[in-house]
Amino acid sequence: MDTDRLVEDHKKLVYHVIHRTVRDRAAHEEIFQEVFLNVLESLPRFEGRSKLSTWIASIAVHTCYKFVQKARERERVGSFADWLEGRPEPGVPPDVQESLEKGDIKRRLEWHLAKLPRKHALPVTLFYLEGMSYREIAEILEIPLGTVKSRLFRGLKELRKSIEGGGDGTLLG
């Protein structure tokens, strides 16, 4: 198994999943390593029934879920589905928000996207940034195909609302 290739081919996917689900930036690198170690460990059980990238994304999402569960053991995180309903926590520190330049469209859009609940942010990211199909997203998030479409639609609506609410309406032309 070419482990270097495994990391190289899937690093952006794993990075995106972590960014959309865990807000604690200090933990991102640790989770990134953890995801790939989990992938390597589970590789003998990969049966090839789905694409490798879909399978890796699924491991990434579950690793993030377990990480948040472990980090917040005193609080109730709930089931995987409950966790997806929530927004990444803790919130972005105000100084980071202030440092975002108005002209930096990409970063501002990313920031609005990161504020969405995971159930909306993840499908939007996987669809638009990773080019995944509805079926692949459905498999990763363990939801029906129709729910993927409705979450994509709701995700765009929430994003629009956040952009307009944040006085960033010009981002959308």
Partner: protein, 173 residues
């Protein structure tokens, strides 16, 4: 306010997946509903902005660290067991062989005892003790014991085969 149309329908229209009569009906509704028309128009712009986002760059240090850790883990898994581990496996093989030999010997002894003189002479007494009347009943009892012993002997190859499988499966780990 309740939306006029279903989320999935609106998503499909937004992505050009709505065709034929459904599309015509949808467009007919858009023509009569300024709110839906405005919403579709706004979401089209939002979708275009998100689709224009480029995937974030993964820090090079994260990638390098992940590659190093995966290489180390893969190497550790591939190392041939030596010293104590190998000796332990050899001990296990001898233990299993000894058990198989013991079971075989024990069953052979039982078979010999049943078929040999000591038991032939002892069975009628046993029959008497158990209240089995007459020599024909004793013969029947001897025959039953003989059949049972033969069945037990026939199990020996299966036991040895299972022990062998157990040992070789342990050897592949």
């Amino acid at each position: 306010m309740e939306p006029c149309l279903d989320d999935v329908l609106r998503w499909d229209y937004l992505n050009g997946a709505l065709r034929g009569g459904d599309r015509a009906l949808f467009e007919e509704h858009l023509g009569a509903c300024p709110a839906c028309r405005r919403e579709i128009d706004e979401l089209r712009k939002t979708a275009a902005a998100v689709a224009g986002l480029t995937p974030s760059a993964v820090p090079a240090a994260w990638t390098a660290a992940a590659k190093d850790r995966l290489r180390a883990k893969a190497l550790a898994a591939a190392v041939v067991p030596s010293g104590p581990a190998l000796a332990r496996r050899r001990t296990n093989v001898f233990q299993y062989a000894a058990i198989a030999a013991g079971v075989t010997g024990g069953l052979a002894l039982l078979f010999g005892l049943v078929m040999g003189n000591p038991v032939r002479s002892w069975l009628p007494d046993l029959s008497a003790a158990l209240g089995i009347p007459g020599p024909s009943a004793a013969r029947t009892a001897r025959f039953v014991v003989w059949i049972l012993s033969l069945h037990a002997l026939l199990l020996v190859p299966s036991i040895i085969d299972n022990v062998y499988r157990l040992v070789t499966r342990g050897g592949r780990k």
